[in-house]
Amino acid sequence: MQTIERIVREHPFFQGLDEASSTLIAGCARNAVFHVGEHLFREGEPADLFFLLRHGKVALEFNAPGREPLTFATLQEGEVLGAAWLFPPYRWSYDARAVELTRAVALDGKCLREKAERDHDFGYELMKRFVPVFARRLQQTRLQLLDVYGRPRTGGGRP
């Protein structure tokens, strides 16, 4: 059976992480399984965790009264889910729901936060991994906002 430390180190998000940091992270990690339809977390709940997805698919959603849930992204194997644990107020700002049987490593954000506060080198290593993910997702969100496939709203016709 794989040790949780090995799973963490082999996940693309933590690829190339040094052994000391892997040990620190593994100390805050546990395996988690979510069945179809099960929520990993819901908007407004305390955000104490984040997830390394190993298998399955998770939909990130907004819910509004009188509307079907609006999915703004799906995440899969190899991706990381959740950043709200990093900064106050440590609450989720959307729902995450398993749309397939999902296996993940759940990491205790509070535990990691404390370790990062004590060891800024470790904290910086964490940031270097999270920030590019944020940047990429922000860029993808911009692309979604652009609505590139839609009919442009500006004037001018076409044949």
Binding site: L60, F72, Y149, G157
Partner: protein, 276 residues
């Protein structure tokens, strides 16, 4: 005048019409004179709607059936509205095929990535037909396709049948979805990091809105493809199709003649120069 003008189209009859999305239809056309129109994947025809004018439309059918032409048309202006609204039995005129082709034969022995956004699947579908017709000559074949929402996807039944094949990886994503959609949500470039192919030995053929293509190229480069492994299909205001009207220029290129398919190496930074 005795010489037949290259600008004079031939007449075709609509034999079938398939509704793809709310504003897009695929017409199946047969020549009135019965002569086939041989074409290569990536090429386009100029379609004429009676009294309204012409529009450049990609050939989206199987190049192995040149007597049965498929054109997927989005009603976006007076000409395309008239074309997309034609019913079986009605007529149009067309001339072509024009333009460059996707490097399908040149990609034999390699992994092939077919990456499309929105209507961009239309000019790439002939590539998929060609690849599948000689499946054993290619490595992995990956089709990545995105649209605004599930109702913007073209060729849904065909996508399903491709998806069920074991020798083809098909990933479909949409920008926006609600509960009825069980597939991926996200932009096309987000599919690239997890697609299964060998970056050192792959060819990518990309067609979609230019912004989508720019970010797709960035994701492909990040994944390790070299610029010369990437090919794009461009859209400009093609009016004559024969490099004589000047409308479709993009810097050194006349897109109707040198394109629409161009290797990314030749496009270089032209795509990021505003209003070129």
């Amino acid at each position: 005048m005795s010489i037949r003008s290259s600008l004079l189209p031939r007449t075709f009859r609509v034999v079938e019409r398939h509704e793809e999305t709310a504003d897009t239809a695929t017409l199946v056309l047969e020549a009135e004179d019965g002569a086939p129109l041989e074409f290569a994947p990536g090429q386009f025809n100029m379609l004429y709607a009676f009294g309204r004018g012409e529009a450049p439309i990609s050939l989206s059918g199987d190049p192995a059936s040149p007597q049965r032409l498929l054109h997927t048309i989005r009603a976006a202006g007076p000409v395309t509205e008239a074309l997309a609204g034609l019913r079986p039995g009605e007529h149009l005129a067309l001339r072509g095929p024009y333009g460059s082709r996707w490097p399908v034969e040149e990609s034999e022995g390699k992994d092939v990535l077919v990456i499309a956004g929105g209507l961009g699947l239309a000019p790439l579908r002939p590539v998929i037909y060609r690849l599948l017709a000689a499946r054993e000559r290619y490595g992995r074949i990956v089709v990545l396709y995105g649209a605004r929402g599930p109702d913007g996807l073209l060729y849904r039944a065909e996508l399903e049948s491709w998806r069920s094949r074991l020798d083809l990886e098909v990933e479909v994503t949409v920008d926006h979805a609600n509960g009825a959609w069980h597939g991926d949500v996200g932009v096309v470039p987000s599919l690239i990091p997890r697609a299964r192919f060998s970056p050192a030995d792959a060819v990518a053929m990309v067609c979609g809105p230019e912004v989508m293509m720019r970010f797709t190229v960035a994701a492909l480069l990040e994944r390790g493809l070299a610029p010369e492994q990437i090919h794009l299909s461009l859209e400009r205001n093609m009016r004559c199709g024969v490099a004589q009207c000047g409308h479709c220029q993009l810097g050194p290129f006349l897109v109707c003649r040198d394109g629409p398919v161009l290797p990314y190496t030749r496009l270089g930074e032209l795509l990021t120069i505003h209003e070129l």
